[in-house]
């Protein structure tokens, strides 16, 4: 009897743990969904491939949650996972035709009349300019734009705060030259 009661208690405990995990997962997705979508867009211009990337991030987050022991903040955890999946996506996929031309297009269009910036134009150009940055600068700039501190960015990427500052500075210079009059 004692053994059966123990097993029942364990099963009940496992069900409670699972419910708590599901609630935590839902909360994290709700709170960070938009950031995940933006981060995915910064690494994948093609909408259908982007959906795949978002699914990969969501799955990785679900798999990582049971092992999360609060070593970092939940936000850092989400960005670490999202970022790691985005990089994996980057090296596993073939580059889509026309993708390399994106940077050239931004540069060509920056002094045309249409570059008289409306908010929508800036948003679109900014996303394209971010995609045109080298990965080392892109990863830092995306997190800066998300509003993470240099300390948090260092925690996500595994680099020092000084290194983050240097890269952020270079990334902003490149963004300025890509966006030109829009800023």
């Amino acid at each position: 009897m004692g053994t059966i009661a123990n097993i029942e208690a364990l099963a009940e405990g496992a069900a409670v743990d699972r419910r708590a995990l599901e609630e935590q997962y839902e909360r994290l997705l709700r709170a960070n969904g938009a950031s995940i979508m933006r981060l995915a867009a910064a690494y994948e211009p093609n909408p259908s491939n982007r959906d795949d990337l978002v699914q990969e991030i969501a799955l990785a987050l679900w798999k990582a949650l049971p092992h999360f022991r609060g070593e970092c903040s939940e936000r850092t955890l989400v960005f670490r996972i999202a970022h790691n999946r985005a990089l994996t996506h980057l090296w596993r996929r073939k580059r889509a035709p026309g993708e390399l031309e994106e940077a050239a297009e931004i540069a060509d269009s920056r002094s045309t009349p249409e570059s008289q910036a409306s908010a929508g134009q800036l948003r679109e150009r900014l996303m394209r300019a971010i995609r045109a940055l080298p990965v080392a600068h892109r990863e830092v700039m995306v997190l800066v734009l998300e509003g993470l501190s240099h300390g948090e960015i260092g925690e996500v990427l595994g680099i020092s705060e000084g290194n983050v500052a240097v890269r952020a500075n270079r990334a902003r210079k490149q963004l300025r030259s890509l966006l030109g009059e829009l800023l």
């Binding site: 997962y25 839902e26 997705l29 969904g33 938009a34 995940i36 979508m37 933006r38 867009a41 959906d51 978002v54 699914q55 969501a58 799955l59 990785a60 679900w62 798999k63 990582a64 092992h67 999360f68 955890l77 670490r80 996972i81 970022h83 790691n84 999946r85 990089l87 994996t88 980057l90 090296w91 596993r92 908010a119 929508g120 800036l122 948003r123 900014l126 996303m127 080298p134 990965v135 080392a136 990863e139 800066v144 734009l145 998300e146 509003g147 925690e155 996500v156 990427l157 595994g158 680099i159 902003r172 963004l175 300025r176 800023l183």
Partner: protein, 187 residues
């Protein structure tokens, strides 16, 4: 424009991109988790079927040919399992590592996959030689041997495995090249 103002403008523009995550994403993740579990269960099922089936054959048939076949299957399967376990040492870590650590881990995993493919190629060669030898031995004592059409059909299976392994190796090599380039770029 001052640096702080410029950053405000950029952040405001960036946050306008805030689409919500697609509806039904959690259900999809639940389904993918189920598929992953089914995949792992299928691997175990195939191993158990081969090991159990060969053992059952050796016990029920009690002929030296079947005992030798069962021993061969067990040795090859155990060799593959031991190699796989050793090869994966250091590649089992949670996904929530910082990016630099994750890249190092990914490099190790990619190299481990390539080593596993090389091992798989040798293992396939050993299996083909062992199975060909076993068939020659078995059919010498149990005539009539099957015709050429049966032998040709049977030889398609290792050929398919060989092609799959070579394709996988070529994909992994491409991935490793891109991964090393990314690693250099980020360090």
């Amino acid at each position: 424009m001052s640096d702080a103002r410029e950053l405000d403008v950029l952040q405001a523009a960036w946050h306008q991109n805030g689409e919500p995550v697609p509806a039904g994403l959690q259900k999809l993740v639940g389904r993918q988790t189920l598929f992953l579990r089914l995949g792992a269960a299928a691997e175990i099922l195939v191993s158990v079927t081969f090991l159990g089936g060969s053992f059952w054959l050796a016990v029920t048939q009690r002929e030296p040919e079947f005992v030798a076949l069962a021993a061969g299957i067990w040795i090859v399967t155990l060799a593959a399992a031991i190699y796989s376990f050793q090869n994966r040492t250091g590649t089992w870590r949670p996904a929530a590592l910082d990016t630099r650590a994750f890249l190092e881990l990914s490099l190790r995993r990619c190299r481990a996959s390539l080593r596993a493919v090389t091992f798989g190629l040798y293992l396939l060669l050993v299996e083909v030689v062992l199975l060909a030898g076993w068939h020659a031995w078995y059919w010498a004592g149990h005539p009539p041997a099957p015709g050429m059409a049966v032998w040709l059909t049977a030889s398609c299976l290792p050929a398919v495995f060989l092609i799959a392994l070579l394709l996988f190796r070529s994909r992994k090599r491409r991935e490793l090249t891109r991964l090393e380039a990314l690693h250099r770029e980020l360090n």
